[in-house]
């Protein structure tokens, strides 16, 4: 254990690793302490309850996830170029946080009470993302550059395509006999394919 990091930080790091890997229910504070190299009571000393520790981790991760839809808009590029940028940025964030989609989906379903927390985070950001994007989209449709489609539908399609390779990662790795490096290469290809799929599907 590097002692320059505080034990509190150490616990947070390992908690994150384990929660991401197995979700809330299957991770015990005992295991977190074991991995962090400290007594189990210490986990509770710093974070009081497992729930609070999870929230500390989850909030952070949620921000990462939601920020994956945000991208600096340069206004001197075309809508299509912007859109490609958004899809790629989104994918890249997921690529850097490959277990994140699982954690979110898992908590969404097994722990519906947590939706409230997610909702707050989502809603406070949704204006930023949705409204301006929606306006631009409609303008493009108006101009006849792309076929009619709601912003929600487009958003869901991008999300779906980008998320799923990471949700299916264990299965894909096993069935196609890929090591991590090979999987990552495949993911890079998927990114391009997702962009292609979305852009082509928008042709008028």
């Amino acid at each position: 254990m590097k002692k320059d990091k505080s034990m509190e930080k150490e616990i947070l790091i390992h908690a994150e690793k384990l929660f991401l890997k197995k979700g809330f229910a299957l991770t015990s504070t005992t295991e977190i302490s074991r991995e962090s190299g400290c007594n189990q009571a210490l986990v509770h000393y710093y974070f009081r309850t497992k729930e609070k520790l999870f929230e500390a981790v989850f909030q952070n991760k949620l921000i990462v996830f939601i920020s994956s839809f945000l991208q600096i808009d340069q206004s001197n590029i075309s809508f299509e170029e912007k859109l490609v940028g958004k899809i790629e940025t989104h994918f890249d964030v997921l690529y850097q946080n490959q277990q994140l989609p699982f954690l979110i989906i898992n908590e969404l379903i097994t722990n519906p009470e947590r939706i409230a927390a997610i909702k707050i985070q989502v809603e406070s950001n949704v204006q930023l993302i949705y409204s301006s994007f929606s306006r631009e989209l409609e303008a493009e449709i108006e101009k006849g550059n792309i076929r009619p489609i709601s912003a929600l539908d487009l958003f869901l399609s991008i999300l779906s395509l980008n998320i799923n390779i990471f949700l299916l990662k264990p299965l894909l790795k096993d069935i196609l006999s890929l090591d991590d490096e090979q999987f990552n290469r495949m993911a890079e290809e998927r990114k391009k394919e997702n962009v292609r799929t979305i852009i082509m599907s928008l042709k008028p």
Copy 2:
């Protein structure tokens, strides 16, 4: 309790319901027995272990899931029509088993040992689905009717688009304030949109 159904069947039904809702880890045999209206020991009497009970449920569901890719091929229709049929059939099976994607993803990630079981089921069916489909796809590409794309990529795109609305169901219902009926209507729209997205993305 309808006593015409055997208790064993009753247990299986409620086990399925609970496993689908919360996954393996969060479902206890105690809860299954409570829901089924019997003593907890009886669950073990019939299925020996929670693990075996889960397998009994999971195998069945896995077959449903995998069969969702199979569709009777009428040869007198065009490739595009066939493809639309496949996408829609796939979606419909998911629609009828809305919690199924979650269960599979959840087990895939939290219980990697179970991948072996999934793999066997998948592989024995993959020939049927993949090989003939792949051949037809390549023929269409050859003819210039659709752009070059691997069968795997196409397959993943369809799977991604179809699955995700059900994974995101709790969040969508909450954020958009939908009741079940409204969600189902939305899902129906999504089905059309998914077909549109895929078909348009294949234009050469």
